[in-house]
């Protein structure tokens, strides 16, 4: 644990934020490097946001373009909401990493390249005709190229490792250099390495030597090259205890907290799928919190077992990503029909089908809200950031148990993997919502398994309860007895009851996240677009524009005041990482003329993209549109004109 004061130290070389991208082969350990750099950044008291971007292949063929793995971090002494548009520094461990990432580097940005990896063979694999480190093509950037491979081998020589093993410490050498660049202490890393390689002390020592050598190199190189040490003061934040947290960790902890607030044991049924598996991994280590994790034979069994556990009186939870959620669909319908609590976490990724397993997208909103057979409503809520996912998971548990319904929680690949500092909350600040089980009836009262309370919820009866034996199932059932009942009037009534129960869920009123309650333009977002929208809106507010940001957590049912709130703005712009799914929903619900800004590249929105789109909408010529009628529509890729 590190202690620091919130007061920034005066320093002449202060920079208030910086974006660094580590890129290398998928076997180069870039995610690990990024993760450890993140931790040291957090310990230094900077605010931060990260964006791990890795291929779907575990070890794609070495040196290839599609095997490049990158980790971007934006950190600063001011509030950071996104992983940053364009890196200031690009660390490229091989030619492919340079090629794939160069386009996003800021003009004048710094490239740190391992010239030792720019061999003829690697250049060929990256489709370079000439070595870019030598042909002058990188002239508009600062270039620092040196043989990291060779220096690493030298540094670890005393430990008697073969070249292949020695080169595995290259990432630690690079991390050492990065620590020097940002004036960070090495001790926490030393401790981490010693702990990680507890059983192999010589590997730990070799990695420490590599780290130290990278750090020492920085000190020397400063004298003669473009490398400058940057001092970044801590960001002034609310006092308290902090840690970094990824979305997957946050969802897991939120589920544990939610189950405890409901005073229920948790049953988690999962099946391995990217990027949702991390939740299964986290919860599997939390057994002492009365958590049972079950790795099922498939996605369907995972949700079915969770519903079975809910039926038996626990809080059933299942988690997956798009294609796995599709497989769970039928069981969700049963959950809706038998009215049992269930939390379904969907870590969305690029689709359709297998799509882009490791890339982010928000394209499962239709699936979440509408994607079941029959009229099968369920509440849908969305997390906007890794830290927010904690509160959203608790909210999902509350709704599920209080309303006896499956709830879908939407996160995405970006939120799942990205990390941010998190002020550790005080658990006692959360209002408990203990679940209640029906355990008996007053003398003479008939037991009606589907008799509803004021919220529309039916009683939860655990098998094992004397005198309340009953049967539930997926066939349409009588309004109160729950016995099979196909009669026309009953099905009409039951359909309405199921709809009304969900529509009547108590959802907090929508607040404006940023800006005034009325104005010229409101930018409406949901999920992981929160950071870039907030920044872009803020830039326009600073320029004097009447723009506001509304970020919706409750996708279904919607906050009751949302329609009225939106009507206070002349125009509505909706950026989404899909083709406009939430826009369709809001247009349907409120008959508003919302304009869509869509992005489905597998990459999060950049602030600049949103800033530009907001500017267009505000332009009188455009009248709330992103383009005027005179603008030429973009030419679809591959279509010749």
């Amino acid at each position: 644990m590190a202690t620091q004061t919130a007061e920034a130290q005066p320093d002449t070389q202060v920079q208030d934020s910086m974006v660094v991208r580590f890129a290398g082969d998928s076997g180069d350990g870039m995610q690990l490097t990024g993760g450890q750099f993140t931790l040291s950044t957090a310990l230094a008291g900077n605010d931060l946001a990260t964006f791990p971007d890795f291929p779907a292949e575990i070890r794609a063929p070495q040196g290839t373009l599609f095997g490049v793995s990158a980790f971007q971090i934006n950190f600063g002494s001011r509030q950071i909401n996104t992983a940053g548009d364009a890196p200031d520094v690009l660390v490229a461990m091989n030619p492919a990493a340079l090629k794939v990432n160069l386009a996003s580097l800021k003009p004048g940005g710094l490239i740190i390249a391992d010239s030792g990896a720019f061999t003829k063979r690697n250049l060929e694999k990256a489709h370079y005709d000439a070595n870019p480190l030598e042909d002058g093509s990188l002239a508009k950037f600062d270039l620092l190229a040196f043989d990291i491979s060779e220096r690493t081998i030298e540094a670890v020589k005393p430990f008697g490792l073969g070249n292949k093993d020695a080169l595995r410490s290259k990432n630690m050498w690079t991390l050492g250099l990065a620590l020097w660049m940002f004036d960070r202490p090495r001790e926490p890393l030393h401790e981490w390495l010693k702990d990680k390689f507890k059983k192999k002390p010589d590997i730990a020592d070799a990695n420490i030597a590599a780290l130290d050598a990278g750090h020492a190199y920085g000190e020397t190189a400063e004298l003669s090259g473009p490398l400058k040490q940057v001092h970044m003061p801590a960001r002034p934040v609310e006092p308290g205890l902090y840690r970094t947290i990824t979305g997957a960790e946050s969802v897991s902890l939120g589920l544990v907290a939610g189950a405890q607030l409901a005073e229920l044991p948790m049953f988690f049924g999962g099946y391995p799928i990217t990027p949702a598996s991390a939740i299964l991994h986290h919860l599997a280590r939390l057994k002492e919190f009365d958590v049972t994790t079950f790795q099922a034979e498939d996605e369907i069994a995972a949700i079915c077992a969770a519903i079975g556990a809910s039926y038996a009186g626990q809080l059933g939870v299942t988690s997956s990503s798009g294609p796995g959620i599709a497989l769970k669909t039928e069981a969700m319908g049963l959950g809706i029909m038998v009215e049992l609590p269930l939390v379904i976490v969907n870590s969305q990724r690029g689709g359709p089908s297998t799509g882009l397993p490791t890339k982010t997208e928000q394209s499962d909103l239709y699936q979440a809200v509408y994607g079941r057979n029959g009229d099968a409503p369920l509440p849908v809520i969305a997390a906007r950031s890794p830290a927010d996912a904690f509160d959203v998971a608790i909210e999902a548990c509350r709704i599920a148990t209080q309303y006896m319904t499956p709830v879908m929680l939407l996160t995405d690949g970006y939120i799942a993997n990205a990390a941010e500092p998190w002020k550790v909350p005080d658990p006692s600040a959360y209002e408990p919502f203990p679940a209640t089980f029906l355990e008996g009836l007053p003398e003479g009262e008939e037991f009606l398994p589907y008799k509803r309370d004021a919220k529309g919820a039916r009683p939860w009866v655990k098998p094992g309860t004397p005198g309340l034996m009953h049967r539930v199932g997926g066939i349409e059932k009588h309004e109160t007895t729950g016995n099979i009942d196909y009669s026309p009037a009953n099905h009409q009534r039951m359909t309405e009851l199921r709809r009304d129960k969900i529509a009547g869920i108590d959802v907090p009123d929508q607040e404006v996240s940023w800006g005034e309650d009325t104005g010229d333009l409101v930018v409406v977002g949901w999920g992981s677009t929160y950071g870039p929208i907030k920044q872009a809106v803020n830039r326009w507010i600073e320029k004097g524009a009447k723009v506001s940001h509304v970020h919706v957590r409750h996708i279904w049912p919607l906050p009751k005041n949302l329609g009225e709130l939106l009507s206070g703005f002349k125009h509505v712009l909706m950026p989404e990482m899909n083709t406009g799914q939430f826009k369709t929903l809001l247009r349907d619900q409120y008959l508003i003329d919302a304009e869509s800004l869509t992005k489905t590249s597998g990459q999060p929105f950049q602030i600049a993209e949103l800033e530009e789109a907001i500017g267009r909408c505000l332009d009188e010529k455009c009248g709330g549109r992103i383009r005027t009628n005179d603008d030429q529509l973009p030419n679809p890729v591959g279509v010749e004109q």
Binding site: P236, R243, Q260, P265, K287, A301, G308, I484
Partner: protein, 348 residues
């Protein structure tokens, strides 16, 4: 089954007020009665009993049992039942499925509930047909079965439910016939078994596959066609009245069973095999015996308990929890943390 306090009930206590909606004459009626007759004998407690089913004619079963019941979705009953048992291992779970539900759409789940060895009784009603969808051939239909979906006769090879169960790692495999008086005995043995107990019940679909099991199920001549197995008893079938007592002898050279005649009740002299229900190899051989050349093996074919899944899961959870701090505050503050002191505003 579970070691819970036994209570006294009658057949009537297990009947619900729901009208039974199977076709008149359906074999399911006989199975329902057999179960309702068996449960009082077991001392089963309705409040601790849960019937879980998938979809199909057989899966309507829970609605007719005055206990807890969950009629789930097609093929997935084993997964629901696994969740129920993990959440509350004290519940006595009976799973009801059919040849389509349990071996076609739900074959995967059936395999896994058996290999995990979740403690429950699994009754698979095999009628070699899809009844509720009006008579299509099923994964257990014999080759050349003519149905609306196979007007020229089916061409695929049928699955053998008991062989499937053994192959999946089942520790109890039994067989019965809907109308057989011996069915309650098989159910009783399955209930006594700790772990997943698989019971194939030949069930007559009188509408779409009438009398398909008559070769061995028809009362007339049954003695010659049915081999009722019991642990420690010789594998005998037939009688003097029906064409002679016969037995199964193990030919150790060919490693195969052969049918032998037993004269004057002296089965030892004929070398008839004594059934060892804990012998997995014998069980495999019995379920693979070609009917016709051999009688149909029935009763308890295999019964060799092993530790259950839910017991292992709970033991692991207890071990992992021992001595751990379970406060939420402790959990949230895990990992590398840092403290910010002083006061500050929160600028953008």
């Amino acid at each position: 089954m579970n070691e819970m306090s036994k209570i006294e009930t009658t057949l009537k206590d297990w009947e619900t007020d729901q009208e039974v909606r199977w076709c008149p004459g359906c074999g399911d009626y006989a199975i329902l009665k057999a179960v309702q007759r068996t449960l009082p004998q077991l001392g089963a407690d309705p409040k601790n009993t849960v019937f879980v089913s998938g979809i199909g004619c057989s899966s309507r079963f829970p609605y007719y049992m005055e206990s807890y019941g969950f009629h789930t979705i097609h093929g997935r009953a084993p997964a629901f039942a696994t969740g129920i048992k993990l959440a509350n291992p004290d519940l006595d779970v009976w799973l009801v499925t059919g040849d389509g539900d349990g071996l076609s759409i739900g074959g995967n789940h059936m395999m896994h509930v058996l290999r995990r060895n979740v403690n429950m009784q699994i009754m698979l009603f095999n009628n070699e047909i899809y009844g509720l969808t009006k008579g299509q051939y099923s994964p257990t239909s014999r080759e050349h079965t003519r149905t609306p979906s196979t007007p020229l006769g089916s061409v695929d090879h049928p699955a053998n439910p008991c062989a499937f169960a053994l192959g999946s790692g089942a520790r109890f495999v039994g067989r019965g016939i809907d109308v057989s008086k011996n069915l309650p005995d098989v159910l009783t043995a399955a209930h006594a078994h700790q772990g997943a107990a698989f019971i194939e019940i030949f069930q007559n679909c009188i509408v779409y596959n009438k009398d398909v099991f008559d070769d061995f199920a028809k009362p007339k001549g049954a003695e010659q066609q049915q081999l009722w197995l019991a642990h420690g008893e010789p594998m005998l079938f037939g009688s003097e009245k029906t064409g002679g007592v016969k037995g199964l002898r193990l030919n150790t050279q060919a490693f195969a069973f052969e049918v032998v005649d037993v004269a004057d009740g002296d089965w030892q002299a004929a070398g008839v095999q004594v059934h060892d229900a804990t012998n997995r190899m014998i069980a495999h051989m019995l379920v693979e015996l070609p009917f016709g050349e051999f009688p149909m093996p029935l009763g308890v074919i295999y019964d060799d308990p092993a530790p259950t899944y839910e017991a292992a899961v709970h033991a692991e959870k207890e071990r992992a929890s021992a001595g751990k701090d379970t406060s939420l505050a402790h959990l949230l503050a895990k990992g590398q943390t840092w403290t910010v002191s002083g006061t500050a505003s929160d600028p953008v």
